[in-house]
C-alpha cells in the first residue's frame, strides 16, 4: 500500500523540500562571491562581511531591532502566559469569548491593518492624553508585544491542554494556594512552551517590517526597515552577507532550542 504510492509521493515531497531550501542555499553561497555583480561568480571572498560590519546604519538598526525584540518577547511571554492560562485553566467568566477572540485574531490579521490601526491609536492617544509623546522605540515595543502575545498565548494554551491536570489537582488537594500552585507546579511544567514562545516572539519581532514602519518615528529604523529600503533597489552582496548571518544565527538557535526541549521532555515525562 505505502510502497505503491511512494514514488510520486516522495518525488513531489522532494521537490517541495528543494523549493523550500534552494533559494536560501543559493543566497548563502552568493554572499561569499567576490564580484559586485551578485550572480557572476568570481571567486570566494568575505569582503562583503567586512563591509557589512563597517556599515554604521546597519549596525545601529540591528542593535535597535535586537533591543526591541528582547523587550517585546519578554513582555509578550508574561502577558501571553497570563492569557493562555486564563483561557485554559480558569473556567468560565464573563468576557471569555471576547478574550479568546482577541487572542486568536491578531494571528491572522494582515500586518498593514495592525500597523495602521496601532499608529492611529497612538496618534489619537497622544492628542488626548499627551502619551505616548512621539513615536519610536516605545511604540514599536507595544505593537510587537501585542501581536507576539497572541502567539505565546496559543503555544501556552496547547501545552496546558496536553498537560496532565492531576498534578495540579494533587497540589490543590495538598493545600497549595493558587499562586504557589502556579509557580511551583504549572510554571515548571509549561517552561518549554515559554522558551519556544519567547524565541518565536523574538524572531517575529526581529522580522517585522510592516508594523514597525507604521508605528516608528523618524530616526528609528529597525533592521527590516533598512533592509527593505536597500532591497527595493535590487539585490546587493552586502544584504546577502547580512541575510546569511541572520539565517545561520536563527538556525543554530532553533536547533539548540529543539535539543534543549527534547532533553527536558525526557526528564519530565
Amino acid at each position: 500500500m505505502i510502497k505503491r504510492q511512494s514514488f510520486w509521493l516522495s518525488g513531489s515531497a522532494l521537490f517541495g523540500f528543494i523549493f523550500l531550501y534552494a533559494p536560501i542555499i543559493s543566497l548563502i553561497i552568493y554572499s561569499f562571491n567576490e564580484s559586485k555583480l551578485v550572480t557572476v561568480w568570481s571567486g570566494w571572498s568575505i569582503k562583503w562581511y567586512v563591509s557589512l560590519f563597517q556599515n554604521e546604519q546597519i549596525i545601529n538598526a540591528a542593535l535597535l531591532s535586537f533591543k526591541v525584540a528582547a523587550i517585546s518577547a519578554t513582555l509578550a511571554v508574561i502577558l501571553g502566559t497570563m492569557a493562555g492560562f486564563v483561557l485554559s485553566r480558569m473556567g468560565r467568566f464573563r468576557g471569555k469569548t471576547l478574550l479568546s477572540g482577541w487572542v486568536t485574531a491578531p494571528l491572522v490579521m494582515p500586518d498593514v491593518i495592525t500597523g495602521l490601526s496601532l499608529l492611529l491609536l497612538f496618534v489619537a492617544m497622544e492628542s488626548m492624553f499627551g502619551w505616548p509623546a512621539g513615536r519610536g522605540e516605545g511604540t514599536i515595543i507595544i505593537a510587537h508585544t501585542t501581536f507576539c502575545l497572541a502567539y505565546v498565548a496559543v503555544v501556552v494554551q496547547s501545552r496546558l491542554a496536553s498537560l496532565d491536570e492531576t498534578l495540579e489537582e494533587a497540589a490543590m488537594d495538598l493545600g497549595a494556594k493558587p499562586s504557589t500552585l502556579f509557580f511551583l507546579i504549572t510554571l515548571p511544567l509549561i517552561a518549554p512552551a515559554l522558551i519556544s514562545g519567547w524565541l518565536l516572539s523574538f524572531t517575529l519581532s526581529l522580522d517585522d517590517l510592516v508594523i514597525a514602519s507604521f508605528v516608528s518615528g523618524p530616526g528609528n529604523s529597525t533592521l527590516p526597515m533598512v533592509i527593505f529600503s536597500k532591497v527595493r533597489l535590487g539585490v546587493t552582496p552586502e544584504i546577502n552577507a547580512l541575510a546569511t548571518l541572520m539565517i545561520l544565527v536563527v538556525a543554530v538557535a532553533v536547533v539548540a532550542a529543539i535539543v534543549i526541549m527534547r532533553k527536558q521532555n525526557k526528564y519530565t515525562s
Binding site: 543559493s26 501571553g80 482577541w102 491578531p106 492628542s127 539585490v235
Partner: protein, 315 residues
C-alpha cells in the same frame, strides 16, 4: 460520633473553601484583567479609531484628518461631521475594487498551489517513521523561523533576469533568452506559496497523522484502486486539515504587502500595497482607514469561519 467528625470536617472544609475563594478572587481578577485590558486597548480599540478616521476628511493638519466633532466657542454649539465620501470613492473608482478582486484572486491561486505542494509533503511526513518524522517536521518549520523578508529577498536573486534560474536554464541550453519572472504575478504566487507553505503543511500533517490506516486497507480489500481510496477515503478524512491550512494561507495572503512590493510588478495590484501607498505616499489617512475597514469586512467571513471550526474541534 462519626456524624460529629464529618460535620467538623465539613465545616473546616467550608472555612478553607471560603478562604481560598477570598484568596483567589483578587489574584484571579488581576490575572484575567491584565491581558484582557492590554488586548482591549492595543488590539480592539485601534479598530474603532480606524473606523472613526475612515469617516473623516483628509486635512492639511497634524494629524492629517478632520475631527468629527467640532466645538464652536462663539456660538456655543458643536457640529458633528461625518462623511461617507471615502467609502463612496472606494466603490466608484474601479481602482480599489480591482485591487480587492485581484488580491482575492492572487490569494486563492496561491492557496491552491500551496495545497498542491503541501499535501504530498504532509502525507509523506505523516507516514514516515517516528524519528524521520521529527527531522522532516523540523526541516519544514526551520525556514519559517528565519526572516520572512530575507526569504522573499532570496527569491529576488533566484528569479531575476540574470538570476540563478535563468543562468541555470541557459547554461543547460534549454532557453536562449532569459525568462522574465521577477516583477510578475507569477513571482508573487511563488512568494506566497513559499512563505506560507509551513502553515499549510502543519494542519494537514496533524489530521493525516491521526488517520486510521486500517481504513485504507479495508478500501483495498474491497477492491478500491489507490486513486479511488485516495479520493474516497484519505481526502475526505483530511478535510479539516485542508480547510484549516487553506484559511491559514488565504487570510494573511489577501493583505500581503512585502511579497507584491518586492516580487510583483508595478501592475500587480494588491490591497495591502494600495493601503501602504495611500498612507505613506499620498498621506491620505482617512482613505487608508476606509481601505482597511473594507479589507476587514472582506476577511471577517473567513476569520469567523476559522474560529467556529476551532471551537468545534475543542468541544
Amino acid at each position: 460520633m462519626s456524624n460529629l467528625t464529618s460535620s467538623t470536617e465539613n465545616r473546616t472544609m467550608l472555612v478553607r473553601w471560603l478562604q481560598s475563594i477570598k484568596n483567589i478572587n483578587w489574584g484571579r481578577a488581576l490575572v484575567i484583567l491584565v491581558p484582557t485590558l492590554w488586548l482591549g486597548v492595543f488590539f480592539f480599540i485601534p479598530f474603532l479609531v480606524v473606523f472613526k478616521i475612515s469617516l473623516a476628511e483628509t486635512a492639511i493638519a497634524i494629524p492629517p484628518y478632520s475631527s468629527l466633532l467640532e466645538w464652536n466657542p462663539d456660538e456655543a454649539y458643536a457640529t458633528f461631521k461625518i462623511t461617507l465620501g471615502n467609502y463612496l470613492f472606494l466603490f466608484e473608482s474601479r481602482f480599489y475594487l480591482d485591487a480587492y478582486l485581484s488580491s482575492i484572486r492572487i490569494a486563492s491561486i496561491s492557496t491552491f498551489f500551496a495545497l498542491l505542494l503541501g499535501f504530498p509533503i504532509a502525507y509523506m511526513i505523516a507516514r514516515s517513521s517516528a524519528n524521520m518524522r521529527n527531522i522532516l517536521l523540523a526541516l519544514v518549520i526551520l525556514p519559517f523561523w528565519t526572516s520572512f523578508l530575507l526569504r522573499v529577498y532570496a527569491w529576488m536573486g533566484f528569479l531575476k533576469k540574470n538570476g540563478v534560474i535563468n543562468e541555470f536554464l541557459m547554461g543547460m541550453g534549454i532557453i536562449d533568452e532569459p525568462l522574465v519572472m521577477l516583477q510578475t504575478d507569477f513571482a508573487v504566487y511563488i512568494g506566497i506559496v513559499y512563505t506560507y507553505l509551513p502553515f499549510m503543511i502543519l494542519p494537514l500533517y496533524t489530521t493525516l497523522e491521526k488517520m486510521d490506516l486500517t481504513l485504507l486497507e479495508a478500501a483495498e480489500d474491497l477492491g478500491a484502486k489507490p486513486y479511488q481510496s485516495f479520493f474516497l477515503v484519505t481526502l475526505p478524512l483530511a478535510m479539516p486539515g485542508i480547510i484549516a491550512g487553506c484559511l491559514l494561507v488565504f487570510i494573511p495572503a489577501v493583505g500581503e504587502f512585502v511579497i507584491p512590493a518586492l516580487l510583483g510588478g508595478s501592475d500587480t495590484l494588491m490591497i495591502g500595497r494600495v493601503l501602504w501607498d495611500e498612507f505613506f505616499l499620498n498621506r491620505d489617512w482617512p482613505m487608508a482607514s476606509a481601505v482597511a475597514i473594507l479589507m476587514l469586512i472582506v476577511l471577517v467571513g473567513p476569520i469567523m469561519f476559522m474560529r467556529s471550526r476551532n471551537k468545534q474541534e475543542e468541544a
